[in-house]
C-alpha cells in the first residue's frame, strides 16, 4: 500500500532530481542543513537510509508549500 509519506517522498525526490548539480558559476550545488553540508549526490545517496535527512528535507518543502498557501 502506498502511504502518504511515500507519496510525499516521491514528490520531494522529484524536486531533488530537478535540482541542477552545479550552480551557474560551475561550483557544486550544496545544501547546508543542520550539521550537514550536502551536494545533490550526497542527498540522493543518503536518501534511502537516512531517516532524519528524509524528514528534514520533507519538512523544508512542506514549509514552502504552507508558506505559499499563507501568501495567497
Amino acid at each position: 500500500m502506498v502511504t502518504l509519506d511515500d507519496e510525499l517522498d516521491e514528490e520531494v525526490l522529484e524536486v531533488l532530481r530537478q535540482q541542477p548539480e552545479k550552480n551557474s558559476d560551475g561550483t557544486p550545488w550544496k545544501l547546508k542543513l543542520g550539521r550537514q553540508y550536502l551536494t545533490k549526490g550526497d542527498i540522493l545517496d543518503k536518501w534511502d537510509n537516512d531517516k532524519d535527512l528524509r524528514r528534514d528535507v520533507r519538512k523544508l518543502l512542506l514549509g514552502l508549500k504552507l508558506h505559499l498557501l499563507g501568501r495567497r
Binding site: P20, L33, H67, L68
Partner: protein
C-alpha cells in the same frame, strides 16, 4: 563589535556576509571587527573590557548555549552572557536564539536576535541569503531602530526573496529561506516569553526560580560537562 570566525567551508561564506553587513553600517557607527583567527574569546572579551559597544554581532557556528570562536572554543556562552548586558545582540548562527536568547534579557541584554533552530542555506543563492540574513542589522543601525522593530520587516523581506527564488525555479533555496525566516526570533524586555523549556525538570526549575535559576543550573552543567562541540551554524 562583530566577531566572525573562518575555519571551514560554511564560515568562509558567512564571514563574507558579515563583512558586507559591516560595510553597510560603517557610515553610521564605528565597527570593531574580529574576523578569522581574531574571532576568539580572549580577544573579544579583552575588547569588551576596553569599550562597551552598543551592538554585538556574531556570524557563525552556534549551538544552543554557545557562540563558537575560530579556535572552536566558545566566545560567548552561559558563563559570560552577562558581558553583553546593555547591548543589542545580532546573531547569524544556529540555535543560540533558543538557548542563549532565552536567558539574554534576564542577563541585561537589551535584545537578542537569533535563530531558534539550525540555520540553513543553499549555494545557488548565496547573494540572496546574505541579503536576507543581513537585512535586520542594516535596517536597525541605519534607521536608528531596535531589532525588535525591524524583525517583521526582515521576515517579510526574506519571504519576498524566497518568492523570487521560487519563480526562478530555485525551489530548495526558496524553501530553505522560508524556513530560516520562520525560525528567526528576537528576545527583548516585555516581548513574548521565550518558549517553555522542553525538559520537565528545567521547566520546574524555571517556574520555581525563574530564568536566572535555570541559567545557574545550565551554567553549572556546562562547567561540569563542557560545551557541546558538535557545532551547527
Amino acid at each position: 563589535m562583530a566577531a566572525a570566525p573562518k575555519f571551514d567551508e560554511v564560515t568562509e561564506i558567512s564571514i563574507e556576509w558579515c563583512g558586507q553587513a559591516m560595510d553597510e553600517i560603517a557610515d553610521n557607527i564605528d565597527v570593531l571587527d574580529f574576523y578569522d583567527r581574531e574571532a576568539v574569546r580572549s580577544k573579544v572579551l579583552q575588547a569588551l573590557d576596553d569599550k562597551i559597544p552598543q551592538w554585538f554581532v556574531h556570524y557563525d557556528h552556534g549551538s544552543e548555549y554557545v557562540m563558537w570562536g575560530d579556535d572552536e572554543e566558545p566566545i560567548i556562552d552561559l558563563s559570560n552572557l552577562d558581558r553583553l548586558a546593555g547591548m543589542h545582540v545580532y546573531c547569524l548562527n544556529c540555535l543560540s536564539g533558543k538557548g542563549l536568547g532565552a536567558h539574554a534579557v534576564s542577563k541585561g541584554v537589551l535584545e537578542y536576535w537569533g535563530y531558534v533552530d539550525s540555520v540553513a542555506f543553499t549555494t545557488d543563492a548565496l547573494e540572496e541569503f546574505g541579503e536576507a540574513f543581513n537585512y535586520g542589522i542594516i535596517m536597525a543601525v541605519t534607521e536608528g531602530k531596535w531589532l525588535k522593530d525591524v524583525v517583521e520587516d526582515t521576515r517579510q523581506h526574506g519571504y519576498d526573496i524566497a518568492d523570487k527564488l521560487r519563480e526562478e525555479g530555485k525551489i530548495f533555496a526558496a524553501a530553505t529561506l522560508v524556513r530560516d525566516m520562520n525560525i528567526l526570533h528576537v528576545h527583548y524586555e516585555g516581548g513574548p516569553e521565550p518558549p517553555e523549556p522542553e525538559c520537565r525538570m528545567s521547566r520546574l526549575i524555571k517556574n520555581l526560580f525563574g530564568w536566572n535559576g535555570l541559567w545557574l543550573l545550565r551554567m553549572l552543567r556546562q562547567k561540569l560537562l563542557g560545551s557541546e562541540r558538535a557545532r551547527n551554524l
